[in-house]
């Protein structure tokens, strides 16, 4: 049985009549890297603020190690927090910033010096310890914030879009660094982001939020390959969606009649009754394109545009009464506009969700 580190039970946050976080149930496993992913305004920061004790939940209970912590003030919660803008103390040096939580906990001088040294080593900033935050680059400030949140060895680290202000290259470097630290220190990390690729890269699990509710919580792989709802399918990566209804079953496969009448074969799932309305999703990179039709699940399509994207081509298609997107390897032939092709959807790559 999983070892729950943090449990949110029925946690709700309202501002007036607006339910920003709505009856949230969430178990965070000890040592996991959990990302909270969702569009702007979906309540991610609010959840983090309630975990850190900066805001009170309107309803519900938060447990850490089985103890309710709703009434514990933030300075006694022992959670490290990394803010989006880092929130480094501008009047303290790097070393003083990192020493701050230790000083607050009454550590001895030499002990503090040693631990600060180690924390700064960990983020490769030992040479900058006497600088003021304003004399550091964004990435360096980020690492100071990280060291400061980790130096007192909290069990949980909360991060609110910590990499949002960094440029792409630095962000990718930091993603790997944080992942590595997570693995090394065995921390529980709750990581807020609205960047889906960041969430996919870093997380053990991802909770996808929409309007204060969890749409799906699962491993990155499951979230990507088997989205639970239309919202998740559309929010994570690109996808093709086809409306239809179940026309019948055949062993472990099911037949779906699309809205234009075409039949399509998909991998079956429990609970797919005949006549049920469904959405078939297939990722663009799973769409096969060929001149002659393949065996099954092939539909005639017309190329409406082909866009070069560096490492691949994005092919926009028209067929079966709707638009499709396919993603082709750069070695693939560059079809001219108006070319008539066949698109093939392997039954295994099609995923069926409720509309």
């Amino acid at each position: 049985m999983a070892d729950f580190h943090i449990r949110l039970d029925g946690v709700t946050k309202t501002y007036g009549s607006l339910r920003v976080v709505d009856n949230l149930r969430l178990d965070i496993i000890r040592g996991e890297f959990l990302s909270l992913l969702g569009p702007s305004g979906s309540g991610k920061t609010t959840i983090l603020m309630m975990l850190a004790g900066f805001q009170d939940a309107s309803e519900g209970t938060i447990y850490v190690d089985g103890n309710m912590i709703n009434d514990i003030p933030s300075h006694k919660r022992n959670m490290g927090v990394v803010f989006q803008s880092y929130a480094l103390f501008p009047h303290m040096s790097v070393a003083q910033n990192v020493a701050f939580p230790l000083k607050m906990r009454g550590f001895g001088r030499s002990d503090i010096r040693e631990r600060v040294e180690r924390a700064l080593d960990m983020v490769q900033l030992s040479t900058m310890k006497d600088r003021k935050p304003s004399q550091l680059s964004g990435g360096q400030q980020q690492r100071v914030a990280l060291a400061r949140a980790l130096v007192f060895e909290p069990g949980v680290v909360l991060m609110d879009e910590p990499l949002g202000a960094l440029d792409k290259q630095l962000r990718e470097q930091m993603q790997l660094d944080i992942r590595e630290l997570h693995a090394r220190l065995g921390l529980t990390i709750v990581f807020v982001t609205h960047d889906q690729s960041e969430a996919l890269t870093m997380s053990d699990r991802i909770a996808v939020f929409n309007k204060g509710r969890i749409e799906q919580i699962d491993t990155p792989r499951m979230i990507y390959d088997h989205p639970a709802t239309r919202f998740v399918a559309e929010f994570i990566g690109e996808t093709n969606l086809m409306e239809g209804e179940i026309a019948g079953r055949e062993g472990d496969e099911a037949m779906v009649r699309l809205s234009d009448g075409c039949m399509m074969r998909v991998r079956a799932r429990d609970g797919l009754e005949r006549g049920a309305k469904v959405l078939v999703t297939i990722r663009p990179e799973k769409v096969e394109l060929s001149d002659p039709p393949a065996a099954a699940n092939s539909f005639p399509v017309t190329v409406s545009d082909t866009i070069y994207q560096g490492d691949h081509f994005r092919v926009q298609l028209q067929g079966a009464g709707q638009r499709f997107i396919a993603r082709r390897d750069r070695r693939a032939a560059e079809w001219p506009q108006g070319a008539r092709l066949h698109a093939t959807f392997a039954a295994d790559d099609c995923w069926v969700i409720a509309p």
């Binding site: 850190a52 004790g53 900066f54 003030p73 933030s74 300075h75 006694k76 919660r77 022992n78 959670m79 490290g80 927090v81 803010f83 803008s85 929130a87 480094l88 103390f89 501008p90 009047h91 701050f100 939580p101 607050m104 906990r105 003021k132 935050p133 304003s134 400061r148 949140a149 007192f152 909360l158």
Partner: protein, 262 residues
């Protein structure tokens, strides 16, 4: 030069002279050897500074100004600083009216406040006391302290305090280690302004002070009315020099606290 540029340039020059000339003409007269506050200066001497320190009236005035000024600075900075911190908690129908109320002494004419305080002081025996003067000056210094401290608190990233809390600092430690150091430029500015206001205040002094609380400003006022002597210019010189020193001090402190806070 084209007239399109000449006219603004001439206007600017005239306006700057109008603004600065009065300040410039008074300074040299502090060093005149003449008995009168007029140009030309026959020869330079420090006799009027000597008068300031040796003449018992001026000497008492300087001491009184310092006592009342320092008292006002302390009282108004403490009260204003605490209130600015407290007013960050936004309570509807309470915080906004209170902040407005605390700024009102800046609006009410000094004579009006003088009349009210005079009647009040007569009841409580505060007339002609140092405490009475300090209190009266504090009332009019408070808005300036409030404005500068509130500005510096508003300019502060509120997440810094959340960060401090998450790192284990309780409310008192957060105040001591984070909020106060970051608000220090504003607090210092407020303190300097409070001192300056007290130093320059005359009207309330006329209404409320006895002969024992005559300040430099009051003494200057009296001298300007009766026997105009260059001692006024010497006092003015001290005023201007003092202002410059104080402002430099504040700027220096700001630099030091500086960082990204400002």
């Amino acid at each position: 030069m084209r007239p399109g540029k000449l006219i603004p340039a001439v206007f600017g020059l005239l306006a700057v002279s109008f603004l600065l000339l009065p300040l410039l003409v008074i300074l040299p007269l502090a060093f005149t050897s003449s008995l009168f506050l007029i140009y030309p200066i026959p020869s330079f001497s420090l006799r009027w500074f000597d008068v300031l320190v040796t003449n018992p009236v001026w000497r008492a005035a300087i001491v009184n100004s310092l006592i009342i000024g320092i008292g006002t600075t302390i009282l108004s900075t403490v009260l204003g600083g605490l209130a600015s911190l407290g007013l960050r908690e936004k309570l509807r129908f309470v915080s906004a009216p209170l902040s407005t109320l605390f700024l009102l002494p800046m609006v009410v004419p000094a004579v009006v406040l003088g009349v009210g305080l005079q009647i009040l002081y007569a009841r409580f025996g505060l007339s002609s006391t140092y405490l009475g003067m300090i209190i009266a000056h504090t009332v009019i210094a408070i808005p300036l302290v409030m404005v500068s401290v509130t500005n510096s608190l508003q300019g502060m990233d509120s997440r810094l305090e959340l960060a401090a809390a998450s790192l284990g600092a309780g409310p008192a430690a957060t105040l001591l280690h984070v909020t106060l150091p970051l608000a220090m430029p504003g607090i210092l500015t407020g303190a300097v302004l409070a001192f300056a206001v007290s130093l320059d205040e005359v009207v309330l002094n006329i209404f409320l002070a006895g002969p024992g609380q005559r300040t430099i400003a009051r003494q200057m006022f009296a001298e300007l009315r009766d026997n105009i002597s260059p001692a006024i210019a010497a006092a003015a010189f001290l005023f201007i020099a003092g202002t410059i020193v104080l402002m430099a001090l504040v700027l220096l402190m700001r630099r030091r606290v500086g960082g990204t806070a400002s």
